[in-house]
């Protein structure tokens, strides 16, 4: 049942209209009024329109809600990031900006407003020798690609903007465009060192694309479908009444989740991998020649990328919009999705507050020599896991033990090989 | 730790040609120093570093000192027999003599291996104008590299054998050596906001407009 049917571009009669009528009768679990609130609101708005216009309006509504939601999330995220970073460093974080011209501080909620105005009023300098069209197109392309990825994320029980059969593939296909935009940014500023830095950022993006893609393959194998709602469906139900069937709670699922998150960190240029804006990057990476609102667009795209990747991680591994415990079903599904998303985003910020930066050669070696082999071995464990799904009783424990061994073994071996020449040392005293 | 005299005697025995003398230090710190002639300085330094008894492998401090020409007034008392048979008259003659100044470089040497106290050696240039070259001890102790460049920059002592003798603190186009006693700083060098006494006198030359508009009223004499 879909909110809007983008995939069928043909004006042929789409079947959503009939399904939406039948939704109240589906005895889906937890269909309290609160649960179906967004759909009721949507039907309220579009019920009077004749048939073809209703579909246009529905899709428009979906786009508006998704874009507006993520824009607000971006604004809040910049503030929350600086507040959490501040609190970690024993200082209160921004709390001075509130409503303009009033003494109201609002715990710093005015900060995103202030940053926005600042970015808008900053002068947008374009180097004379720059390739004007590409220079302008780069941030737009980056932002477009990261917004495209929102289309397949299941925000709630039946709140997925586009119900695609190959939703996950679509997500990563759209994500792959970011490299193109980074290249355009590096090339268009006609500055040899920003091009060098762009190539370095590309190397990082490409070398972490592989573990990212490899880490979600086991999920597809277990769920048996490429559609995001299908994956969430596959994680329904609870074992022994209180352990949900989330993928993250299986050995291969946890390993895949960790690899996915580490690669997501690298894809969105976040903390241990934030190479482009490291001062050792000669200048400021491929963002050197950008200023003003274009610079802000780059950061908006980075935050959108971060949100999209964590939303996909929630869908694939943390059971999407499913409640962790049966009796918690009364809380609507989109709230669960939001909570899990905020938890992952908090993880991003927490990691940024703690870890130093990796050098470019260590970063790529970590990807190729550790993450990719781990992902491949994890594929094997997932295959073993699916083959032995009908073991029962004591065999179940054996199945868990073997799976855990298959995950932990290579981790320890490769971990030791990777950190062969780094170890805490003991010191002698004169 | 051997006394300075023993070190000097051993050095003299090894290098008969070297001019070595002890400079007594009257202050209670009693850190006497060894004045080394220019020619064999580097061999002596290498010996001091490699000698098993001394092992002075750590050159802690390289300092430049400027001793300008000193005007020494000697009063010689001569008694002249009075031609008229009277009592001999005492005549004081003041002879003014200019003792030529020199630039001096002092090295404080320690031994990290044997943890022994400072052995101080000094080297002196011929005079303060043309003979200002001294053998550089950086090939013996690498710690001299920056410090000797600083002595070159601020005092003007040319160290031959120094791997990279350039100015280190002042910028390359700077003329003159600021740490010399007779260095006259350019008078617009650092103009005080509230000049008085001699700074005011110097600053007056730089006021473009009529008398001291900038000198704050309070200082009107």
């Amino acid at each position: 049942m879909t909110l809007v049917q983008l995939s069928r571009v043909t004006p042929g009669v789409s079947d959503w209209f009939f399904q939406s009528l039948s939704s109240p009768f589906i005895a889906a679990a937890g269909d309290s009024r609160l649960e179906r609130l967004p759909i009721i609101a949507r039907d309220l708005l579009t019920s009077r329109l004749p048939e073809p216009w209703r579909w246009w309006l529905n899709s428009l509504l979906a786009i508006l809600v998704v874009l507006f939601g993520f824009a607000i999330l971006f604004a809040l995220l910049t503030l929350v990031e600086r507040k959490v970073l501040g609190r970690v460093q024993n200082r209160p974080g921004p709390n001075r900006t509130g409503l303009p011209f009033t003494k109201l501080r609002l715990f710093g909620l005015g900060q995103p407003l202030a940053d926005g105005i600042k970015m808008l009023t900053k002068e947008d300098i374009v180097p004379r020798s720059a390739d004007k069209l590409l220079h302008f197109l780069a941030p737009v392309a980056l932002l477009a690609f990261s917004i495209l990825t929102f289309a397949v994320l299941p925000f709630g029980r039946n709140l997925v903007p586009v119900e695609l059969d190959a939703g996950i593939l679509y997500f990563f296909a759209a994500g792959a465009g970011t490299e193109l935009a980074v290249f355009m940014a590096g090339w268009a500023s006609r500055n040899k060192y920003s091009l060098l830095a762009a190539m370095r950022a590309l190397a990082q993006l490409i070398s972490y694309e592989l573990p990212l893609l490899l880490s979600f393959v086991p999920v597809i194998m277990m769920a048996g479908t490429l559609s995001t709602t299908g994956v969430v469906e596959a994680q329904a139900g609870w074992k022994f009444g209180f352990i949900p069937h989330w993928h993250v709670l299986t050995p291969w699922g946890f390993a895949a989740f960790v690899i996915f998150m580490v690669s997501a960190l690298a894809e969105s240029n976040r903390s241990p991998f934030d190479l482009p804006e490291a001062e050792s990057e000669l200048i400021a990476g491929h963002l050197t020649e950008y200023s003003g609102f274009k610079y802000a667009l780059f950061f908006m795209a980075e935050y959108f990328g971060m949100c999209a990747l964590s939303a996909m991680a929630v869908t694939l591994f943390l059971g999407g919009w499913r409640a962790p415990l049966p009796f918690l079903e009364i809380v609507p599904s989109y709230v669960w999705f939001a909570l899990k998303l905020f938890a992952l985003l908090f993880g991003f910020i927490w990691i940024r507050a703690t870890f130093p930066r990796l050098r470019i050669d260590q970063l790529t070696r970590f990807a190729w020599k550790f993450l990719v082999p781990m992902a491949l071995i994890n594929l094997g464990t997932a295959a073993f896991w699916s083959l032995t799904c009908n073991w029962s009783g004591p065999l179940q424990l054996a199945r868990w033990a073997i799976a855990l061994a298959l995950v932990a073994g290579p981790f320890v071996v490769m971990g030791r090989k990777l950190s062969r020449d780094y170890a805490p040392r003991t010191y002698r005293y004169a | 730790m051997e006394s300075l005299e023993q070190i000097r005697d051993r050095l003299l025995s090894r290098y008969p040609g070297a001019e070595l003398s002890i400079l007594n230090n009257p202050s209670p710190s009693a850190q006497h120093s060894l004045v080394v002639g220019g020619s064999a300085a580097r061999e002596i330094a290498a010996f001091l570093r490699d000698d098993p008894a001394l092992q002075l492998d750590f050159c802690s401090n390289v300092t430049g000192v400027d001793w300008p020409d000193k005007e020494i007034v000697e009063t010689t008392r001569t008694t002249i027999p009075d031609p008229a048979g009277g009592p001999p008259k005492l005549v004081e003659q003041k002879t003014k003599r200019i003792q030529p100044g020199y630039l001096e470089v002092v090295y404080h040497l320690y031994s990290m291996a044997l943890k022994q106290g400072p052995v101080i050696i000094r080297m002196r240039t011929g005079n303060r104008t043309d003979q200002v070259t001294l053998p550089s001890l950086t090939p013996v102790w690498r710690s001299g590299e920056f410090q000797e460049r600083e002595v070159f920059d601020l005092f003007g002592v040319v160290f031959d054998g120094h791997p990279d003798l350039r100015r280190i603190l002042m910028w390359d186009e700077f003329k003159g050596h600021p740490m010399r006693k007779d260095y006259v700083e350019p008078d617009d060098y650092e103009w005080e906001p509230t000049p008085h006494d001699e700074v005011l006198a110097k600053a007056k030359a730089h006021y473009p407009a009529p008398a001291a508009p900038a000198a704050p009223g309070a200082n009107a004499k």
């Binding site: 571009v9 043909t10 190959a166 593939l169 465009g177 479908t225 | -």
Partner: protein
């Protein structure tokens, strides 16, 4: 022939044609990538989502990077971009090659049994069936595509390495020890 089909065709062919005529190598490479995206749009229009996203992921994501890296690393100087003087022989060769490919394509299009009228609702092929189909009957085709991609990658590396003075095998001379006399 719906309007969407026309728009997509126009975009794809247009970007491919302009790509050929531009002097700036990078611009033509980007337009080439745009034409690949156009082909992906075609698949979408035809309802084959999986193929469209695969096309996007593979071509626009990965092969475009290979092409752009190859273009950058080869650093051909501008001079050899000009058309060679003896144009006559080149025109004949171009016509021959063009005519041959045109003939083959035309033959394939005419003989293939295409369904005349677009069916009401295109049959939705689920990804699972496609997976079994791909791994089963078309496994050979999959391997060929894999080989094609590796060839593209190797071509990029060879193109790039021709420009270097010393052959990649010989390591660059060890860094001279820091001579004390700097300038």
């Amino acid at each position: 022939m719906s309007i969407a089909f026309l728009i997509i065709a126009l975009v794809t062919l247009g970007s491919a044609a302009v790509a050929m005529s531009l002097r700036n190598l990078i611009h033509s490479a980007l337009l080439l990538i745009a034409s690949w995206a156009g082909i992906a749009a075609f698949y979408l229009w035809a309802g084959a989502e999986f193929v469209a996203f695969a096309q996007l992921l593979v071509y626009v994501g990965a092969v475009s990077m290979v092409v752009l890296f190859a273009v950058l690393l080869t650093r051909q100087s501008r001079v050899d971009m000009a058309i060679a003087p003896d144009a006559l022989r080149r025109i004949v060769a171009a016509l021959l090659a063009g005519g041959a490919t045109l003939g083959v394509l035309f033959g394939a299009v005419v003989s293939a049994p295409l369904p005349i009228a677009a069916s009401a609702t295109p049959v939705t092929v689920s990804v699972r069936q496609m997976g079994q189909e791909l791994m089963g009957t078309h496994a050979a085709a999959l391997l060929i595509v894999g080989a094609l991609l590796t060839v593209a990658l190797l071509g990029a590396i060879i193109l790039a390495s021709t420009g270097r003075e010393d052959p990649p095998g010989v390591a660059p001379p060890a860094v001279a020890p820091p001579t004390r006399k700097t300038s």
